[in-house]
């Protein structure tokens, strides 16, 4: 067992657990987007920042990737943490303003203004779908491609993957996915996962083999 202090409370957690797991187990809420039980920690969204250490040596780390250490002093909601978190949410909101998950986060954390230009991206590159595909579905059909501003998630060579089983796991887990449904352009769909699910909009001719994961669909506006 490892003894550490979270928000002034002395606790002990099992060896090998992360700060995030320890805090969540004890009931301290830490928001996350890219963390999911059953998938390896990735540390992409940075929403789970916490402050460790004391005085001038204190620093912000992502709790989902930081292992609990003996004697560690963690603050999950210090002023610095809250400020950093609000900034991250504002930036995420700017890249995917249409995502319900991010909108809810912004609302819950009191982010009321939007200072950055909205990009309407359909991906925050959190890597959940990539990990879902390879770690839980054992498929590895999608992955990161390119780097920097060109970085994207998709299938190799932009063709439908031959290892994808259309399980829909990637869409299920995506926090920004609402617009990833490509309704009448099936060739643009990441894996055609939606084609496998019960389609409410199948009556519409051009959506014959497609549907979006949402029920009712929020993207294609077909009720």
């Amino acid at each position: 067992m490892i003894n550490l202090t979270i928000n002034g409370l002395a606790v002990s957690v099992e060896k090998g657990s992360t700060v995030l797991e320890a805090a969540q187990f004890l009931g301290f809420p830490i928001p996350t987007l890219c963390h999911h039980e059953g998938l390896t920690p990735y540390g992409a969204c940075r929403l789970c920042v916490v402050e460790i250490g004391e005085g001038p040596g204190a620093r912000l780390v992502s709790s989902c990737t930081y292992p609990a250490e003996e004697g560690l002093k963690v603050r999950t909601a210090s002023e610095r943490v809250v400020r950093a978190r609000k900034m991250i949410i504002e930036l995420l909101l700017a890249s995917c303003p249409q995502s319900k998950v991010i909108q809810d986060l912004a609302s819950a954390h009191g982010v009321r203004t939007q200072r950055f230009r909205q990009e309407y991206e359909d991906c925050i590159l959190c890597g959940l779908c990539v990990r879902m595909c390879s770690e839980q579905m054992m498929a590895g059909a999608i992955g990161f491609r390119g780097r920097g501003t060109e970085r994207s998630i998709g299938t190799p060579f932009d063709v439908q993957s031959d290892v994808c089983r259309f399980c829909g796991g990637c869409m299920h887990i995506c926090p920004a996915c609402q617009l990833r449904c490509t309704y009448n352009q099936p060739e643009k769909a990441i894996c055609n996962a939606c084609a496998n699910l019960a389609p409410p909009c199948i009556e519409k001719e051009q959506y014959g083999d497609m549907m979006c994961y949402m029920n009712p669909c929020v993207a294609c506006e077909i009720k």
Partner: protein, 283 residues
């Protein structure tokens, strides 16, 4: 390049995580780009997902998924080059070639690339053509560079063109050949001499490819020390009083086997000083 070559490359580099970049590098060297079917084969053989391998191949700028031209022209767009007008030069290249950076001319001759820094900022703007560097390039020089590139003046494999020049030497005293065809260095017979320092004596091998001086010694001599080189047959020393122009250390002198000149090499370990004096039969 067939399947067997790819399997060889994979076998050589190992199928573990660390070998992937080395495998892709070798494939790129062979094919000049990474063809889709080879990436699929690499994925199958290494047991990793194609998505993983595609991710690595698209992450590094050194890898290309599109075939490249015979010649490669890269213009530096680093900060220092940029403020000296590198953008104009890139535009000039684009216009002359009719392609955008990152593309290849339709005749598959020239690939135009931009790089972010070549580490020679004082010389900017810089353009590299097939491994040959041009400093202080102006838009006016673009046509000239392209003409020379097309003519293949700078080689086509990205490295400066090499003219392998083989030398064959013998002892100036006893006249016996110093060539040892039993052991080759860089694929050619090596020059075998005796090297001694502080009472330690052993053989020393010099590649017979002129310009390559990665010497191997029987004993490990410390860097930057002067060793005595002598004939393995008659044991006479090769030092004849001439001095290296690079470091001033004594030069060892050997006679070319055809008797038409001498070959001199610096006796200081680590120094690459050498010269070939043709048309001098006597010492």
């Amino acid at each position: 390049m067939d399947t067997k070559d790819i399997l060889d490359i994979i076998e050589r580099n190992g199928k573990n995580h660390a070998g992937l970049i080395a495998i892709l590098e070798e494939v790129q060297e062979e094919c000049s780009y990474l063809p889709e079917e080879i990436l699929r084969l690499v994925a199958k053989e290494t047991g990793r997902s194609l998505a993983d391998i595609y991710g690595v191949a698209t992450f590094y700028k050194a890898f290309s998924l599109k075939p490249k031209g015979r010649h490669c022209v890269s213009a530096c767009l680093g900060t220092a080059c940029h403020v000296r007008g590198a953008q104009k030069i890139v535009e000039e290249f684009s216009q002359e070639l009719g392609i955008k950076p990152g593309e290849t001319t339709p005749d598959n001759e020239i690939t135009l690339e931009t790089v972010n820094c070549l580490g020679a900022c004082a010389l900017g703007p810089i353009v590299v053509s097939d491994g040959h560097y041009f400093a202080n390039v102006t838009a006016r020089k673009v046509g000239e560079i392209l003409r020379d590139t097309r003519e293949g003046t700078f080689g086509s494999d990205g490295a400066p063109e090499e003219h392998p020049f083989l030398i064959e030497v013998s002892c100036p005293r006893c006249g016996r050949s110093l060539m040892d065809s039993g052991t080759s260095l860089h694929g050619h017979p090596s020059i075998l001499v005796t090297a001694s320092m502080n009472g330690k004596t052993g053989w020393s091998r010099i590649p017979s490819l002129y310009g390559r001086f990665a010497r191997t010694h029987e004993h490990a001599f410390p860097d930057n020390t002067i060793i005595q080189l002598s004939c393995p047959h008659c044991a006479s020393s090769f030092q004849d009083g001439s001095r290296c122009v690079e470091c001033g250390a004594p030069l060892a002198t050997m006679r070319l086997a055809d008797g038409n000149g001498v070959f001199r090499i610096c006796t200081r370990t680590g120094c690459e000083g050498h010269l070939l004096d043709l048309g001098r039969a006597e010492l």
